[in-house]
């Protein structure tokens, strides 16, 4: 997780957003434990109550559950729940702006698909390069 915080919203909310991003990216999987409040507070030098507030927000959104004495765990179905919400948010908030830009620039479906395909190839090539730069696993 990034250690930098911005001033646009409370840290607990930024912490919540980072955990959400980690679930969407598959870094945190369903059933995985969340790092302990103590560790996050110490590592990121934030107030433990801030961490608890962030985690509570995730509990309220049914993305995480608290198991007494064992900690917090990512709920089964959390990623789907998030994807549903994030897709709706994208379609309601971001897509109208993107669509307006597409219209303004007169971009056609074919051009957009071409751009998407070349972006995918470029992403794949980059990830291949990163993998080949990784040290080989010791046997």
């Amino acid at each position: 997780m990034d250690r930098e915080w911005n001033d646009s919203q409370p840290i607990y909310r930024q912490l919540r957003d980072r955990v959400v991003a980690m679930i969407l990216d598959g870094v945190l999987k369903e059933g995985d434990p969340l790092p302990s409040v103590r560790n996050v507070a110490a590592e990121y030098r934030v107030n433990p109550l801030t961490v608890l507030k962030g985690y509570q927000q995730l509990v309220d959104e049914q993305l995480v559950e608290s198991k007494r004495g064992r900690g917090m765990f990512i709920n089964v179905g959390a990623r789907n729940l998030l994807l549903q919400g994030e897709r709706q948010k994208f379609l309601a908030e971001e897509w109208p702006r993107v669509y307006a830009t597409i219209q303004r620039l007169g971009l056609g479906a074919e051009e957009l698909l071409d751009a998407a395909t070349s972006q995918s190839s470029s992403d794949a090539a980059q990830s291949k390069t990163t993998e080949s730069n990784l040290p080989e696993e010791e046997s």
Partner: protein, 172 residues
């Protein structure tokens, strides 16, 4: 002469009543000022049912402005989210303004328990946006000169309360 004495005793009586009213609030404030110093301890929260053991929670209280205000800070090396609370007298009221990391400033009014050990603050109003929730309730319990407890209730978005209980031990 008799009526003058009568008037004088009436004035004195009303003044003493006023003084009594003030002294109750002043007493609560003075009680809280005995907490001035540095404290550390653990925190337990509900509904998460989580306890963070150890000395992770640190609180400092400082009487300032010639004793007219008490500054409360949850502190650990100047983290960006350390909230500050100012406690002060406003006429016959003991008030608290909490400068919340959620970006707002709730005010609460305090009342001391009959046994004089607990000062409970109830929500009055809030300035600023409550989009990200706000602090709602606070209780200070003085156990002895070196121990006190604090209970803070934060209202999460959607009016879901989160309660934190801190058991604190004096370090300075």
């Amino acid at each position: 002469m008799k009526s003058l004495r009568f008037m004088l005793s009436l004035v004195l009586l009303s003044l003493s009543t006023l003084a009594f009213g003030q002294s109750d609030t002043q007493k609560s404030f003075d009680k809280l000022k005995t907490l001035a110093g540095s404290w550390e301890g653990n925190v337990t929260t509900v509904p998460q049912d989580a306890t963070i053991e150890g000395k992770l929670t640190q609180v400092s209280l400082r009487a300032t402005s010639m004793g007219n205000a008490l500054m409360h800070e949850m502190t650990m090396g100047g983290r960006p989210d350390d909230p500050i609370t100012m406690l002060y007298l406003d006429g016959d009221r003991l008030l608290l303004t909490h400068y919340c990391d959620a970006g707002n400033r709730p005010r609460m009014a305090g009342k001391m328990s009959p046994d004089g050990k607990t000062v409970e603050f109830s929500f009055l109003d809030v300035a600023g946006s409550t989009q990200y929730g706000h602090m709602y309730h606070a209780v200070f319990t003085v156990i002895d000169a070196n121990h006190h407890a604090e209970d803070w209730t934060f209202m999460m978005p959607g009016d879901k309360p989160m309660h934190a209980h801190m058991d604190l031990q004096r370090t300075k």
